[in-house]
Amino acid sequence: MDKYILSGSLRYEGNSKFDASNRFGLFKGLSGAWRVSGENFLEFADWLNDMRLRFSYGENGNKPRKEGMFFNNYATFGWNYLGYNAVYPTNMQLENLKWESYTSYNYGISFDAFDSRLLIEADYYQNRTEDMFGYDVNIPSSTGISEINIMNIGVMDNVGWDFSIRTLPIKKADYSMTFDFNIAKNYNILREVADGYPLERNLTLGNGQYKNIIQIDNPIGSFYGYRYNGVYTEEEQLLARDVNGNIIADPNGDPVTMVYDFDNVRYPFQLGDAMYEDVNNDGNISAQDIVYLGDANPDFTGGFGSLMKYKNFSFNYFFYFRYGNDIINMTRMQGEKMHNFDNQLASTLKRWRNPGDETDIPRAMLGSGYNWLGSDRFVEDGSFLRLKYITLTYNVPKSFSQRMGISSMRLSTTMNNLLTYTNYTGQDPEINIKSNDGTIYTVGYDNSSTPVARQFTLNLSVTF
């Protein structure tokens, strides 16, 4: 068998989704492996089937989702003016749009021993996405256009490792059992952003908004906002306090009360209002009280499962998990804001109504107030463990099926997404961690898109 394996590739690709100057891309690839187990010095280890060190380098290119996006297109308005056709450019020419290129370095080790009853794979990777696509990127609307359909917004690295082990601890003539486990960790790091791409958004934090900050050489997906300390239930709490906990007094000696004073709005807090932490102890809830609240990136992801066989029966299951990520539960925010006529969650029934009420849900304020500023009230731990599937299969014995002229017959039942263990209160913790509006700011926002379905399948398969 080969001991040294090396292969390379070169691809030159053109795509009609790009304007003339950036239409073609050249993508290289190289991979190699060293089968250590083929070396003479490992000959004694006859339990070792295969062991190799792997390396690969690959380049790849992504193209825009839609055809013809780069054209400066014209269309008619949906209405005439004075009975005449009215035409306008619907989008601008995208002459600068380039391939989103993807470079990956992968270093791995594979280990296969004891007649493949133990398989281990470990990989470390460094992936870089250059000229990353951003869809519907805001641009100054003074250009006459408020967003660009697609543009190259920056450079992002994804560095991480994954490890998987597959075992077959029991293997007998009538029964057997496997056990598999895998775990992975990924770090995303933003390396560059395009000129003009803002690093901060929502500078002014209104109701419903979290401050979006992205930092070069840091992961994306951090949440910033106010710290929520419940509801003002005592008059005492409305008094502003300095660092030492002493009540702040104005020049006349009267105590100063807590206010939301920001962007020329001055709102004195009252009983029943949301109480935010006055981080800088100045008696004013403002931009200076915004702190780091959490991170959308999981510490680990992984899964485990097993396949058990006994005679004609087999049973398998697979769990997977995400651990250590936070989610902004936007749905709960919308359902507890009590700011307009929208339907609200049942939890608002225990809102603050009268002095003396002890609750953590602020009072209802139609069209006013600051009770739903972006705060950690709506940031939740998104960790979960989910039973992805569980399957029971029965292979009908050939002796039985062949009498009916059937060469093989199998009966099985599968249940998908049956169980989920989580502390998250939204409808499904398995949200798409990627951004939902095509930008790199709003990762980890849960707006209750369709959750994964719980499925029950009964399957009869017959081969003649």
């Binding site: 053109g14 014209y74 962007d263």
Partner: protein, 499 residues
């Protein structure tokens, strides 16, 4: 032989790379820029696009902004059934940079279309032999005037905005811009109007087109308005006279047909420029102003009672025709009747919300001239005559008549008369600001009275202190714009929270 094969492969690759048309795939719907701008018809459609963009097609189009900017800050409207967070803030003088009504997208959408016509239309001369330079210049005149009108609104609302005179046709042209000063913007407006003056048509060939498109007379009216804002009263009078002496316009007679002719049917002899709504594009005002669920605004009763004082002795036929049943309708929850009524008594159905938006009409020219005269030495008597001309048409009662001769009392009179005449026509805030700021804010009291009439009592004190600062008389720039143009675009310093 083997080497030969490589050469073949390499040359194939090079041929494919060199041939740029090889992967040229045009979109299946729409036309590309290379296919458009081929003929006079295309230029015409592009210019109509500039007008059509006033009605919609962007976030906060001009047709909406023109009401929001002119009325929401002022004292003519009051909040109604539907909660409208943006107006709620403005009404309490708590305007933040994320307020939806401070978006300028619509005005710049139109500006960009104007810039596109100015850039793309001239080369059509070489393509379409039937397209003459004279026709081109007529279109240029219209588009330059329209761009000037957009900047005129922007400069009055924001004081300082980016001045963009180049079309954004490609991502290579997307730039962040800093603000131009108020002087630079006014200079550009006046320059564009001056350039357009000999080009723009006086007649587009039909009544509707003369009212729905810009003409030489609109240009003169805009000039008058600009000069009034710049306190160039002599020039303002000159521009007003050009419209008045043209004989092209007259006040609609104040009889029983006055309401229908001026507001329901539109394009009346009094109209100078109106945004043309139609069955294809209904106006947004009906839904905002009706008394239905979802209505946002109604007349501010306090201001109404000030402008049209109730007189128990007066007979119904003595009433000002602009009061109940015209501007508003008291029996219909003080809805803004101008945009709702089929006549003085019955409402239109919502699918007939086709009332035009009147940008300028002849009465405006008369009162602008009166304002210029009032600020000119010895012009008081002539100003009175013009005011009376408008008042007589409206059957204005003696209760609201003022014997004014000096600049101070004439200003009050004209501002009030304009509020009666142009109620809910997007003029009020601009009238108050223009007159208040003259002579180093000599008439700050106009703004103070406005605050007292419109602001909820618990917010009056903070509103008054904010209005003491002239920077607050201009809107903040929307936070999305500040962020998209960071760090070049600076926020109006009033709205910057000090760190």
């Amino acid at each position: 032989m083997k080497r030969f094969k490589y050469y073949v492969l390499i040359s194939i690759a090079m041929v494919m790379g060199a041939c740029s048309d090889w992967l040229y795939l045009e979109p299946e719907n729409g036309i590309t820029v290379d296919e458009f701008w081929q003929s006079e018809q295309d230029v015409h459609a592009g210019v109509m696009g500039c007008y059509a963009s006033l009605l919609g097609g962007s976030d906060h189009p001009f047709a909406e902004a023109v009401f929001n900017w002119g009325e929401l800050r002022a004292d003519m409207v009051a909040p109604f059934r539907s909660i409208d967070g943006g107006y709620f803030q403005i009404n309490q003088s708590e305007i933040t940079p994320d307020n939806q009504y401070v978006r300028w997208n619509g005005a710049y959408f139109t500006i960009n279309l104007c810039n596109t016509v100015l850039e793309k239309a001239p080369p059509v001369l070489d393509i379409d032999g039937a397209f003459t330079n004279e026709e081109l210049q007529r279109y240029r005149g219209e588009v330059l005037t329209l761009r000037a009108l957009m900047y005129f609104y922007l400069v009055r609302v924001f004081n300082e905005v980016p001045l963009i005179l180049e079309a954004t046709t490609s991502d290579a042209r997307v730039e962040r811009h800093s603000k131009a000063s108020r002087e630079e913007i006014y200079t550009q407006i006046k320059k564009d109007l001056l350039e357009a003056e000999p080009l723009i048509p006086k007649d587009h060939g039909s009544v509707d087109e003369n009212k729905g498109r810009l003409t030489w007379y609109t240009l003169k009216t805009i000039q008058a308005d600009v000069h009034l804002w710049e306190d160039d009263f002599g020039l303002a009078i000159e521009a007003c006279d050009a419209v008045i002496n043209s004989g092209q316009f007259s006040l609609v007679r104040g009889d029983e047909y006055w309401f229908t002719e001026l507001f329901v049917e539109g394009n009346s002899p009094e109209a100078i420029f109106e945004l043309q709504f139609s069955q294809e594009k209904l106006n947004p005002y009906y839904d905002w102003f009706s008394s239905n669920q979802g209505a946002r605004y109604r007349a501010n009763v306090e201001t109404i009672e000030y402008l049209f004082p109730f007189n128990i002795m007066a007979l119904p036929e003595d009433a000002d025709i602009r009061s109940d049943g015209a501007s508003y309708r008291s029996t219909d929850s003080y809805s803004l009747w101008k945009y709702l009524g089929a006549d003085r008594f019955t409402a239109k159905p919502s699918n007939e919300a086709t009332s035009n938006w009147i940008v300028y009409r002849y009465a405006d020219v008369l009162l602008m001239k009166a304002e210029a005269l009032a600020n000119t030495e010895g012009g008081g008597a002539d100003a009175q005559i013009l005011i009376n001309q408008v008042r007589e048409r409206a059957n204005a009662p003696d209760d609201t008549e003022v014997e004014a001769t000096d600049q101070y009392s004439l200003t009050t009179y004209i501002v009030d008369e304009r509020a009666r005449e142009f109620a809910f026509e997007g003029k009020r805030w601009f009238d108050l600001l223009r007159n208040a700021r003259r002579d180093n804010y000599r008439r700050q009291d106009l703004i103070t009275d406005m605050v007292l009439r419109t602001t909820p009592p618990q917010k009056v004190e903070s509103a008054l202190s904010k209005y003491q600062d002239p920077r607050f008389h201009y809107f903040p720039i929307h936070s999305d714009e500040i962020e998209a143009s960071f760090p070049l675009l600076e926020q109006n310093s009033f709205y910057v929270t000090e760190e």
